[in-house]
């Protein structure tokens, strides 16, 4: 059988064979460019999940009037720090309240969370540092909502030392390389009775850019002018001294394996792994041990602004406030979200702030809850959210 495309070959084989050798290559090139065009034109658009409007959940399985909404698949993306607690909430909500609401949260980082939220490719975003003014201008419909509080501890490895006390300037000078030895007068003055070794300080920091580095350097910028001018607050600062470990685990490993070292680690990680950490002097002049409670207190002493709750709570007022703490935020649509997605999402958030199961999750995962003084305002914010362009309130259960 003769292949139709090749019918011309016999006539002028000698002359055209050379040319025809490249024919298949040309054909493939054409196919490829068409495919490339097709993907380029077909891309974009809303990739967020599909929704099916189904019957209400079985009444017997619902402990309250919450969550009688339609089933939904929600997607979110953003900060890695609160990912464990978000995962716990979403799982518990699905198991205890409504099996029809499934949430897929991707911990891709705060920066990516803001980008994806602004591009509308997710139903909600999450960010440890909130949004900058420029980012808010690009997403005018954004509503920030704090969920939990994170704190950063200074973990150390000093043989024979079981309690270490530090203050802001001392920490800044250690990370600037100005304090080089453990028996520096500035450190011995803070730790009377403690036998600090005459050994160089091995400084460890987070090499991956993270909200943890962001809040730590934000704190150092507040307590040290030298830090502020030389390094500044950043999720990826230019560290003057030290070695970088990747992630909490990386820093913890470096500290654990290096005698005479110090490194900063998230409170949740330090508590879970029972790492020793230092007390830090707060703005009121008291030495505070980082705990879930002292992290919560740091948010109680500040006036949280309306409507976006965006504020740094490092070096906060309050006698018992631990000074290196931060809010972590969800990014929500004020009015432009689709009701099919927004209603189940906001219903779930109401549950998050009210249900004992959800609040127990916070403690179990070693996060610090928001101070109770903030709750009425969060309720008001949730109630004010609308969907489908403002036509309906998002919250169904209230």
């Amino acid at each position: 059988m003769r292949w139709p495309f090749c019918s011309g070959i016999d006539q002028s084989r000698a002359a055209s064979a050379q040319r025809l050798r490249f024919l298949p290559v040309l054909v493939s090139l054409a196919v490829l460019s068409i495919a490339a065009l097709a993907t380029a034109c077909g891309g974009g658009g809303n990739t967020s999940s599909s929704t099916t409007t189904g019957s209400p959940a079985a009444p017997g399985s619902i402990p309250s009037n919450i969550g009688k909404g339609d089933s939904a698949n929600l997607t979110g993306a953003g900060a890695t720090f609160p990912a464990p607690i978000y995962q716990a909430w979403f799982d518990d909500y699905m198991h205890n309240v409504s099996q029809k609401v499934q949430v897929n949260y991707q911990p891709v980082g705060s920066g990516a969370g803001v980008t994806q939220f602004t591009a509308n490719t997710v139903d909600f975003g999450a960010s440890d540092v909130g949004m900058t003014d420029a980012q808010l201008a690009a997403a005018p419909d954004a509503q920030l909502l704090p969920t939990v509080i994170g704190a950063v501890t200074l973990s150390y490895n000093l043989s024979g030392v079981t309690s270490l006390k530090l203050d802001g300037p001392a920490i800044a000078n250690i990370y600037l390389g100005a304090i080089k030895n453990w028996n520096d007068p500035a450190l011995t003055a803070l730790n009377p009775g403690v036998n600090l070794p005459n050994a160089p300080i091995q400084v460890a920091y987070r090499s991956d850019s993270s909200g943890t580095s962001g809040v730590f350097t934000d704190y150092l910028s507040k307590v040290s002018d030298t830090w502020k001018t030389q390094v500044g607050a950043s999720t990826a600062p230019h560290w003057p001294v030290g070695q970088g470990g990747q992630g909490n685990a990386g820093v913890a490993a470096v500290v654990k394996q290096t005698p005479n070292s110090i490194g900063y680690i998230e409170l949740t990680y330090a508590l879970q792994n029972k790492l020793p950490f230092a007390d830090v002097k707060n703005k009121a002049g008291k030495m505070i041990t980082p705990t879930i409670d002292s992290a919560s207190v740091s948010a109680a002493g500040v006036t949280v602004p309306s409507p976006q709750y965006q504020i740094s709570i490092t070096n906060a007022d309050g006698d018992n406030a631990y000074p290196i703490s931060t809010f972590t935020y969800l990014l929500l649509d004020k009015s432009t979200g689709k009701c099919t997605q927004q209603t189940p999402l906001v219903d779930m958030l109401w549950w998050v702030f009210h249900d004992p199961v959800a609040q127990q999750d916070v403690k179990d995962e070693f996060y610090a809850p928001l101070p109770s003084s903030l709750l009425p305002r969060i309720e008001a914010t949730l109630k004010a959210l609308t969907c489908d362009g403002g036509s309906k309130p998002s919250l169904k259960s209230q």
Binding site: M1, W3, F5, C6, I9, D10, R13, A17, L20, R21, P24, V25, V27, S28, L29, V31, L32, A36, T80, V108, G109, S110, G111, A112, V114, T115, Q135, Q202, S207, D208, S209, S210, G211, V231, G232, A233, S234, T235, A236, P237, H238, W239, P240, G242, Q243, G244, G245, Q246, G250, A253, V254, Q257, T258
Partner: protein, 324 residues
């Protein structure tokens, strides 16, 4: 994966003799399509990286390549120290891995009996199957501690008089990254070198042995010159892996933007800085990271071109093909 030294296959003559039957035609389309996909992907990558990093290229200028002041908070971007870190670690790994790999390969092919060479080959090849995160964690918890407590002191006390060798051994640092990369690319270089050495014709060995050569003389005169271009090809493969390796290096290199003052100091590689900072980056910072990726791609191309040139010089124009 195989490296062959061969003459150019006489493709033109083959296709002239046979008419383009449907099967041939389909096959040609299929193969050229797949080959083109590779070319298009690389070209697309270059285009996309250049396009996305354009704001940073405009803002940073050419000094981007040698300044060592990477500081996203101040929007200062210079990747000199990353390039230095990448080159030192990969060249170190290339030299030591190739040395060890060729010795292991010679042992397996020329010296070891079959019941030894089989399991040893298998174990070395198994090294390639270990995920890089495992290498990285092992690097911190085992190798790093060994360097800090033993190997580092040994090097300082015997080589400390050399300019770059005197420092305080740490768990994470340039030397840890060099060593972990050496171990990681060893199986690639070894496996290819072994196949190349095994492919040296037996008649060549017999000939030289018949002239009264010892085993070492046989290897030196008959085996190594014949396998040279293939071993170079193996080294290129290893180098490509070393330049691009990310996770294991990120875990053990110490990630410091400051130029390392000695072999034990913390340093940074280009792949590591992208892995570390990309997730939380935005705006000019992100564009600068994409520019790092672009430079990394360009450096990889440059290294490959140089390596091929080197092979060509060494083998006197003999053609080398590397297939992966």
């Amino acid at each position: 994966m195989a490296v062959t030294t061969s003459d150019r296959p006489n493709r033109a003559a083959g296709s002239m003799k046979n008419r383009l039957k449907p099967g041939d035609w389909t096959f040609t389309v299929l193969t050229s399509l797949t080959a083109l996909v590779v070319v298009v992907v690389i070209a697309g990558m270059f285009f996309e990286l250049t396009h996305d990093s354009w704001p940073a290229i405009k803002a940073n200028g050419i000094a981007f390549l040698w300044h060592t002041n990477w500081d996203p908070a101040r929007e200062a971007f210079g990747i000199g120290s990353f390039i230095v870190g990448t080159l030192i670690t990969s060249v170190f790994a290339l030299i030591f891995a190739t040395l060890v790999a060729v010795l292991v390969a010679l042992f397996l092919v020329e010296i070891a009996p079959r019941f030894v060479s089989r399991p040893v080959s298998y174990v070395v090849e198994l090294l390639a199957a270990i995920p890089s995160v495992v290498y990285g964690l092992w690097g911190i918890f085992v190798m790093g501690v060994f360097i800090r407590d033993h190997l580092g002191h040994f090097i300082v006390s015997y080589l400390g008089w050399l300019p770059f060798m005197n420092g305080t051994p740490l768990i994470t640092g340039l030397f840890s990254a060099c060593l972990i990369l050496t171990i990681m690319i060893l199986p690639t270089v070894m496996a290819v070198s072994r196949d190349v050495i095994a492919a040296v014709p037996g008649s060549q060995r017999e000939g030289i042995a018949a002239l009264g050569a010892t085993r070492w003389e046989m290897i030196r005169i008959a085996v190594l010159p014949y396998a040279r271009s293939g071993i170079m090809g193996a080294a290129i493969l290893g180098l490509a892996r070393a330049v691009g390796e990310t996770l294991a290096v990120t875990l053990v290199i110490g990630n410091s933007v400051t130029l390392p003052s000695n072999i034990f100091a913390p340093a940074y590689t280009m792949a590591s800085v992208i892995a570390n900072q990309f997730p939380e980056s935005a705006g000019l910072h992100q564009a600068a990271l994409i520019e790092v990726a672009l430079v990394l791609l360009a450096i990889t191309f440059l290294i490959n071109a140089l390596a091929r040139l080197l092979v060509w010089k060494v083998t006197g124009g003999q053609r080398v093909t590397v297939q992966e």
